[in-house]
């Protein structure tokens, strides 16, 4: 894809997001791909910071703040309204966090996907309720410190990709703030889908993950390179791994970069590694099957 094929960034500077915020990287990239004929929704979380305060806003496109759990329901109505008014060329996108997606937002998302409306749902996964000050969500990984899991989370991360795939969603992909061009290509494909499209973007949060602000992209890349965050897309049930990792790195580098994993024992890290390797191999096998 030639550089410069995308449009301008439609988010203004001067927003009060944290330094090094991955969600903001994703938001700007999103507007470069989708362009001005886009309506964006943000639930009340970190992405709502872009939706402004007082009489100011960060968006140069039409934007709306939903409630935490119903962005997908709003999108259903917006799409129906646009259809009724004959406005077919408008993209409808939600930029929601993991809490508003896999926890409280699950019902509305599942319902909207089941009904098959044309929309794009981007989940920036910073793996906790960050805007309220780092509380665990269903997407918080095993072992991670949060204010509500001070001893480290004891449950596994909820696999929202598998759940939505079970519904037969036409397009679903994982992405990473550390592989922004891969995300942008996926978003372009999502825009073409005549139905629901979902992209789950790993979005490291320096504030919540307890690491320096400059490490956002480095840590995002370590997650992919240690197979903890495989990058793939599923188009009409057909899987493709979009970033192949030739020489996987040990998970230690990823874990040691973040204060939230301080409590993870070497044994837990080992199990994490094994799980990741098995999962990655399964994905490669699935990809092969699809090609056969």
């Amino acid at each position: 894809m030639p550089r410069g094929a995308y449009g301008p960034d439609l988010v203004s500077p001067g927003l009060t997001t944290c330094e090094g915020c991955a969600m903001e990287i994703v938001a700007r990239a999103m507007t470069r791909v989708l362009g001005p004929r886009t309506i964006v929704l943000t639930p009340p979380g970190c992405s709502a910071i872009l939706t402004g305060f007082g009489t100011e806003t960060g968006w140069k496109i039409p934007a709306f703040q939903s409630n935490l759990e119903n962005a997908a329901a709003y999108m259903s109505g917006i799409r129906a309204g646009l259809d009724a008014l004959g406005k077919d060329d408008v993209a409808v996108v939600t930029l929601a966090g993991d809490g508003g997606t896999v926890d409280i937002g699950l019902q509305a998302l599942s319902g909207a996907v089941e009904r098959g409306h044309r929309f794009i749902y981007i989940c920036y996964d910073n793996e906790a309720y960050m805007n309220t000050g780092i509380q665990r969500s269903g997407a918080t990984p095993l072992g991670a410190w949060t204010t509500t899991t001070p001893g480290g989370k004891r449950q596994h991360k909820k696999d929202i990709i598998a759940m939505l795939m079970a519904q037969g969603i036409p397009y679903i992909a994982t992405a990473s703030a550390g592989y922004i061009e891969d995300f942008m290509r996926k978003l372009e494909r999502a825009r073409q889908v005549d139905g629901p499209a979902y992209i789950h973007v790993h979005s490291p949060c320096p504030t919540g993950w307890r690491m320096p602000a400059c490490d956002t992209v480095r840590v995002a890349r370590l997650a992919v390179e240690s197979l903890l965050w495989p990058l793939y897309e599923v188009v009409e049930g057909r899987l493709r791994v979009t970033v192949k990792v030739k020489e996987p790195k040990p998970v230690q580098a990823y874990l040691e970069a973040q204060g939230r994993f301080r409590g993870v024992s070497p044994e837990d890290a080992q199990r994490m590694q094994e799980r990741a390797v098995r999962h990655y191999r399964r994905l490669l096998a699935q990809e092969q099957e699809g090609e056969a």
Binding site: P36, R37, T38, I39, P44, A48, T51, G52, F53, G54, T55, T57, W59, K60, I61, P62, A63, F64, Q65, S66, N67, E69, N70, A72, A73, Y74, M75, S76, G77, I78, R79, A80, G81, L82, D83, A84, L85, K87, V90, Q107, A108, S110, G111, E114, R115
Partner: protein, 430 residues
């Protein structure tokens, strides 16, 4: 020419939605509203109603979807009842605060607990301070008419507010009546297209809607909302008046009724019964057909007591001034609420008393107000209950002391439950 059909309240609502040329419908079934979403599904499937039909997965999503459609400028509708409205509660305030002129039918159903399928007004009463216009229909005909009046009022540029049209579950929603269904051309002449001169999600004119606000501007936005709701009373009266000219049935926020004579000539009666919804229909019929029998007129005046009805069609915004003028000359007011108002007096009674407070402030005589709670959980509001209401009110009046301001308070309880059956409590063990 209108078509006359035998329709229940639910079918009448569906007809109105079709006539209003609604563009987006969000549908979730809940007793006793379910036939509405079924009729609409049939109408959409057959092409009679070219709307987008969204079979949502919960009522919370129903109102969210309807709000989404309105945000891009489409005319939208949904319907619910009881616990469904309660589930929508989080979004009810958002829709009003964001000034989206949607219309929602609510087939009144009592909120749990206890669980019931049957009617009372606890569901819509729980939403009364959210900033919607709230109308109560007495019959299937009114349910149809008020949906159309609702769109015209809510979408008026001076208002831009959502409208709830309440109809009693089963008593109105499921009772078949003679209904005049207007012609589509007639309705097109009455109802203009939905308004676009308001904040919309439109890529041609980007704006952010419903952003986080600060104490600097929150109060002023709420004030705009308050003023719009105040204006809505006058706009509603205009819309109801125009409805009369177009369709032969006139609506006003508050309407008096007397059995023998026109309310304009014979007003005020000795006792005025203030109520809403299907109970107003019961009172109206009981008075018209002389079913209550006669009561002694107050103060030893020869002849029977004169009893009249004050039907409140518009509960929000509350038509305090009109009510005050209607009740000023009345001796005693019996307010019959169909919700319990636990923890205080029942809501309609409180509104009436608040409205009448200004009479005292103006140095005018304040009538006695007796509050009644009846018809909860679908208990039928019978002629017998109504008779007890009138008896109790006249009894309170007879025993009242004349105070300095003219405010007469009887010795009985502030709120009476006239249809309460005194039964032995259930034993704790079988």
């Amino acid at each position: 020419m209108p078509t006359v059909k035998a329709l229940d309240g639910n079918a009448a609502v569906a007809e109105a939605v079709r006539l209003a040329r609604v563009q987006v419908i969000a549908a979730y079934p809940i007793t006793p509203q379910t036939p509405i979403v079924e009729h609409l599904a049939t109408a959409v499937e057959s092409g009679r109603l070219p709307a987008r039909y969204i079979p949502v997965e919960s009522e919370h999503s129903a109102l969210s979807a309807v709000a989404g459609a309105s945000l891009v400028g489409a005319r939208a509708f949904t319907a619910t009842a009881g616990a469904g409205l309660a589930l929508m509660h989080e979004i009810v305030g958002v829709v009003a605060g964001t000034r989206l002129p949607v219309v929602m039918a609510v087939t009144n159903r009592a909120l749990p607990s206890p669980w019931t399928l049957q009617t009372d007004h606890s569901d819509t009463m729980a939403e009364r301070d959210q900033g919607w216009i709230q109308l109560y229909a007495e019959s299937a005909q009114e349910a149809l008419d008020l949906i159309l009046v609702g769109y015209r009022t809510g979408e008026d540029p001076r208002v831009l507010l959502p409208v709830m049209v309440a109809l009693d579950g089963f008593f109105v929603s499921h009772t078949v009546e003679r209904v005049e269904v207007p012609d589509p051309e007639q309705v097109d002449a009455y109802l203009p297209p939905p308004p676009t001169n308001r904040p919309l999600l439109d890529p041609d004119h980007p704006v952010t809607i419903n952003q986080l606000t600060s104490p600097d501007i929150f109060t002023e936005i709420k004030w705009q909302h308050r003023e719009a709701l105040q204006r809505a009373l006058g706009v509603l009266a205009e819309a109801g008046e125009a409805y009369g000219r177009h369709f032969g049935r006139r609506y006003a926020p508050v309407e008096p009724y007397l059995p023998d004579t026109s309310a304009a000539e014979g007003w005020p009666p000795d006792v005025a019964i203030v109520t809403m919804g299907s109970m107003a229909g019961t009172v109206r019929q009981a008075l018209r057909d002389g079913l209550l029998g006669e009561f002694a007129a107050p103060g030893g005046r020869p002849g029977p007591a004169r009893v009249g009805l004050v039907k409140v069609t518009c509960f929000r915004p509350f038509p305090a001034e009109a009510l005050r003028e209607l009740l000023a000359g009345v001796q005693a007011v019996a307010v019959v609420d169909r919700s319990a108002g636990l923890g205080s007096q029942a809501p309609l009674a409180m509104e009436v008393k608040a409205a009448l407070y200004d009479l005292a402030a103006q140095g005018r005589r304040v009538p006695l107000v007796q509050g009644f709670v009846a018809g909860l959980g679908g208990r039928d509001f019978t002629v017998e209950t109504l008779r007890r209401v009138v008896e109790t009110t006249l009894g309170q009046l007879a025993n009242a002391r004349a105070g300095g301001s003219g405010l007469a308070a009887g010795p009985g309880p502030t709120t009476s439950w006239p249809d309460l059956k005194l039964v032995a409590a259930q034993p704790a063990r079988p």
